[in-house]
Amino acid sequence: MDQGRTDIAPGRGPTDSELLEMYRLMALCRALDERVWLMNRQGKAAIVASAQGHEAGQVGSVAALRIGHDRFYIYYRDLAALVSLGLTPAQIMSGFLAKAGEPLSGGRQFPTHGAHAGLNLVNLSNVVATQIPQAVGDALASKMRGEDAVTIVYFGDGAASVGDCHEGMNFAAIHKLPVVFFCENNGYAISVPLSKQMAVDSVAGRAEGYGMPGVVIDGTDVSAVYEATAAAAERARAGEGPTLIEAMVERYLPHTSDDDDSRYRPRGDIEEARKKDPVKMLRERLLADGILDEETDERFSADAKRAVNEATEEVEAAPHPDPSSFYDHVYAGDTGGASSR
């Protein structure tokens, strides 16, 4: 926490075994991420938004919250959040291939989109920043019912420019709602660099204007992310209101599989970003600290590879959704085929 307001009590850091588990999840997510990107190049996955470079932010923040109890509003880049929440590689991959039985939207939506009731997970749309006021309303509902769930909402630096972001943050601060605003700042919104997105260099700096604390953290460091999220969740549960966390991360692949970043991003910039590979950095750190050994590392990577291979086989063989489901769920009670109009 090196910038912005730091008047929130430091949170608890992760234990060694939590660190090891976070590393396992990050390695699994990376293997899955690389596979779906490949499947796009093979013409099998229509669109991929990669989480590479963002994994520590997503995994570290989910790990600091209570899965199945706290509430998660994610966005399209949050593959690692999905992995952390416990969706299996096959479940996630079935979204990329839009197969029948895909758990979030039945293959109706872009990969990772839809919702999962059991996980209190919502990723409603591709429309940037719409999730921010939704998460605020979600937290309002929890507060009205006297529940102690914390709602975390993820968004990019570009999303911070949308009016919805301002409106949502303002309301959350007024009503001291249990929200954690988690900005994954990778410095780009497709091609638009931060300098054209805002005249300041920090999203978190705005927090003061709303009347909530804002912190800037190294989003490639899982421990920093875990701590900041735990502290923000603590505040939220204590009824002290929202916190804005700005996790500085890197995006070293193009915006999505449809993008050509060579049009706007210098090669050197990407090389520089790759040096902050959170998976590699965590691996080195855990090895150095004796929390991870080579043998365990090899097992993790073999397990990840096997899981991703098995998922690929399973999902490729699965059918696409049956066209007869097309008219289901336009309105409550719509099932079994016919248009209600």
Partner: protein
């Protein structure tokens, strides 16, 4: 020339012709736009006239409107039409009423361009056809061309128009549809439909990508001895009632085709115009082929196919109508 080339050339010519014209939108600078509509513009016109905006659609429309009210001619791009809804307030609520609400002392000569439409595996949020919402609004003009020639001529007219124009470009046509465009400068009138194929037995009335499917179906029908007249609306507000009525009176049978969902869509207005003013000429029911009544186009290929009207469905409707 492709449709996207036509978009680019129209804007390039207008920017070169008139200093007041500038472009703004997300990723339109160094990236050249996600569909490359503004490829090379920063290099040619500089960052002052090619503005990479923050990710904030409401302000894109509102800022364009403000600049238009103060003598500029903005062309604002909404990256995908699915993200146009935050502009509704500034466009439907504000821009459309500027002239009326100032008793003519101010105008809003702005263009809001947006790639729309599906069949590109765009899912619920990169496939939508938003035209009906805007076409409902007096004070706005809504243009939806289908060919490179029409796109270039109409976009140039949109830029020169004194009133706000929503310019809808079907993204599937961008690279798919090619056609000749003359070297010399030309514009085409907003509000004029165009007979794309002469015929005598039935009329098909369409626009955008669907126009091309209609032409394909019409060629099939020609082989079966049915002569189809194809009218391309090109502008959805104001509708060219005369052209609509002329073809309906000529053939006595009208089929309207659009990708947007059917209920309260553009086709409903076209059908009403025919029913009100050419009823006595009709030899069959006015028919519509349109998108199904689900909120948006699903991602999975099997479900996307359920949404998109195809040539077969259109040809079958034509056959049914021809039998009357």
């Amino acid at each position: 020339m492709s449709v996207i080339d036509a978009v680019r050339e129209a804007m390039r010519e207008e920017m070169a012709r008139d200093e007041r014209v500038f472009v703004m939108g997300e990723d339109i600078g160094a990236r050249g736009g996600v569909f490359l509509a503004t490829d090379g513009f920063v290099e040619q016109f500089g960052e002052e006239r090619v503005i990479d905006t923050p990710l904030a659609e409401s302000s894109i429309a509102g800022i364009a409107l403000g600049a238009a009210m103060n003598g500029m001619r903005p062309i604002a791009e909404i990256e995908f039409a699915d993200f146009i809804w935050p502009t509704f307030n500034q466009v439907v609520g504000e821009a459309a009423r500027v002239r009326y609400g100032t008793a003519g002392s101010l105008g809003a000569p702005m263009v809001l361009r947006a790639p729309y439409g599906g069949g590109v595996r765009g899912g619920l949020y990169h496939s939508q056809s938003p035209e009906a919402y805007f076409a409902h609004t007096p004070g706005l003009k809504v243009v939806a061309p289908a060919t490179p020639y029409d796109t270039k001529g109409l976009l140039k007219s949109a830029v020169r128009d004194e009133d706000p124009v929503i310019f809808l470009e079907h993204k599937r046509t961008y690279r798919l549809v090619r056609g000749d465009v003359p070297d010399e400068e030309y514009t085409l009138p907003i509000g004029a439909a165009d007979v794309k194929m002469e015929g005598s037995d039935i009329s098909v009335i369409s626009y955008g990508l669907m126009l091309h499917l209609c032409l394909e179906a019409a060629r099939e029908l020609a082989d079966e001895g049915v002569s189809v007249e194809a009218l391309d609306l090109r502008t959805l507000r104001p509708l060219d009632s005369e052209a609509i009525l002329a073809t309906a009176r000529k053939t006595g049978k009208a089929l309207i085709v659009h990708e947007d969902t059917k209920a309260v869509g553009v086709g409903a207005e076209v059908a009403a115009i025919i029913a009100e003013e050419a009823f006595e000429y009709l030899d069959g029911p006015i028919m519509r082929v349109a998108g199904p009544e689900v909120p948006a186009m699903p991602f999975s290929p099997t479900l996307e196919a359920m949404f998109m009207p195809d040539t077969e469905r259109i040809a079958n409707a034509m056959r049914e109508l021809a039998r009357y």
